[in-house]
Subunit: 424 residues, 2 copies
Amino acid sequence: MHTPVQIDSPLDAASRAELESRYADLCSQGLKINMTRGVPSPEQLALAKRFLSLPGESDFVSRDGVDWRNYGGLQGMPEVRELFSEALLGLPADYVAVGENSSLALMYEALSHAFRRGVPGSDQPWSEEAVVKFICPVPGYDRHFSICDEFRIEMLPVPMLDSGPDMDIVEALVAGDPSIKGMWCVPKYSNPCGTTYTDVTVERLAAMAAAAPDFRLFWDNAYAVHHLSDEATPNQDITGRCAAAGHPNRAFVFASTSKIVLPGAGLAFFGSSPENLAWWLERRKHRTIGPDKVNQLRHLLFFGDADGLTQHMRAHSTLLAPKFACVDRAFAQAFGDTGSARWTRPAGGYFISLDITPGCAKRTVELAKQAGIALTPAGATHPGGRDPHDANIRISPSYVDLDTLAKASHGTALCAQLAAAEIR
Amino acid sequence: MHTPVQIDSPLDAASRAELESRYADLCSQGLKINMTRGVPSPEQLALAKRFLSLPGESDFVSRDGVDWRNYGGLQGMPEVRELFSEALLGLPADYVAVGENSSLALMYEALSHAFRRGVPGSDQPWSEEAVVKFICPVPGYDRHFSICDEFRIEMLPVPMLDSGPDMDIVEALVAGDPSIKGMWCVPKYSNPCGTTYTDVTVERLAAMAAAAPDFRLFWDNAYAVHHLSDEATPNQDITGRCAAAGHPNRAFVFASTSKIVLPGAGLAFFGSSPENLAWWLERRKHRTIGPDKVNQLRHLLFFGDADGLTQHMRAHSTLLAPKFACVDRAFAQAFGDTGSARWTRPAGGYFISLDITPGCAKRTVELAKQAGIALTPAGATHPGGRDPHDANIRISPSYVDLDTLAKASHGTALCAQLAAAEIR
């Protein structure tokens, strides 16, 4: 599915002139569309309106005895962990800690602790290893790659299949190289493919032999409840699978409410095995007295219970699903069954992954930019910003309205076709 | 002032029996008082009541064009930086970045970046140095020492004088040892002495020669606006002094609103020179998309302007000042001018530093605990929890009500007198 497009466009020379003429039309429209990132739309933000006046005059008393208005509570309120831990991390509340507003920051922090002090099972801090490598499924999330750059972690790209990362390659790499300390995973509605790792993939990730005794899956469950229909894909039980396979500490699980309430004003979570959680809190206690408990209570009062969360995510889905359908329709109409492009049809998440004629992604993004359509830079879905096939483009349908999105999708398809015609 | 008490108590053997009898009375009262930490009282928390319903239905638009309800804004809203930067950090808004909810976490993060990547002026990351040392004024803040423990930083205690840290010692150390990379400073109403560094001290810190080219002052301005009267001690202009002395990048300045609005639900700030700030944001961009802007707007709407902040801190002061007076009264009554104890009379902050007969602090805290008065552990004000004179106790008057505080203060003084009598 995410292998490069093999068949070239069947367009002939005559159609290049036609494409150029249509592109000139596109440029003359004076578009100014930003589709670079996967951000919620104003209509989605409006769903959290009530959140902005909470907690108000609440007389809530947490049963852990920690005053939510004062210092303390390193692990986070039990009531809040209970509300989110199963839904977002597939874990019991005891094995989850609340963080600040960004799950990315928690992933960064976990790496930071690993480099400075090692993780359970480490022979030494990762900073003392000659080299640290991470497996990076591609196409993947550029901010994961950026963290690796900052930590000077060598990235090993592994292709995504319909089932998740190519496990034959992952298993061979991880078994053979003790400097491979970790692997980025967006296991559900992945960024950007929208792929959900199959049971077999999850099982193989949990059970595979690892040369490094302290190998970790960085399990970024960013889209846990971000379904595009009422058909909710369940969370994979990665921690349970790892424990059953004799690797209880293998997975660090992360999630946040950024794309549930408001980006930047949500809660982030870390979850794992009891031993990893104890390590997490032991490291963390030097860093902070505790995360924002007022925001925890705000979440608790806003959602009430698991059903409140489900209803809220349905409202998001109602706004998002038509946008994914709009892009799909535009691409189907533009590319048809020519084989000149392939794109994903995710059941959740925030992105569509578009593969076009190899060698054309950068040029397509450039043409789109000239026409006023800002797309995620070509290559961003690959470590170092280098897509070896120059074929993959991440489409972010969430922010713009439907009319604009239709224009942007048709425009993007036109740019891809023109780019392909140019190199023929 | 903070040198150990030299003159022993003039109490004789007869009075030991009397002290023991009074201690038995104390124990029989069944007290249960927690004075371990400097936390705001319920009355102080109530000052932030309106904060809990904000921002509400605000149509605020920040002039930086970043939607406060969506992603982005790595440095923080300009309006919020303008509101707090002068008051809390003594810096212009351009040289300040907003963080999450904990200034301690920002100090930790600055160290984390320094260890991984070095700071402007570093020859190499601090993690590659054979040893990294920090100067720690004592008595000092235990959480600073805890961060040093976590980073395996060797701590060099330097005594606090009435003017701030003993600069003769500081200058000699910093000039002579390139492995001294930093120094903790709580320059205003210091924890626990309540000392404000004098102009001369600040000038000497800014101007002194440092063997390490990347030496940094970790300037924890925790009590910037936490005056105990209407007489506001101004912020020291450490960044300006450093720049004037040819060390523009010497100071990292930190502050937060934890003890202004609600602990844990406030904003933390980092401020420094343009070069340091650029370094901070460059490092930070790998870690997070941005801090919580809804909480920034919440602050902006709550305080409105600098005058609103001043008024709010006056309300805190009205609640806190009588508590400091209460402790002072109790200690004066109990210790009189026997020379058996010395304690500070701060003009701001959250603590009183009590020095008693050397060798008696641990025993005093133990006796107090048995009587139901939980004090900060003796030694906590020193690196490694080891006070070489076993003489210093941190008193935290803020949380408990006045009646309780009077009991606790008299009780603590009694325990100190009994401990001294026991070793005579």
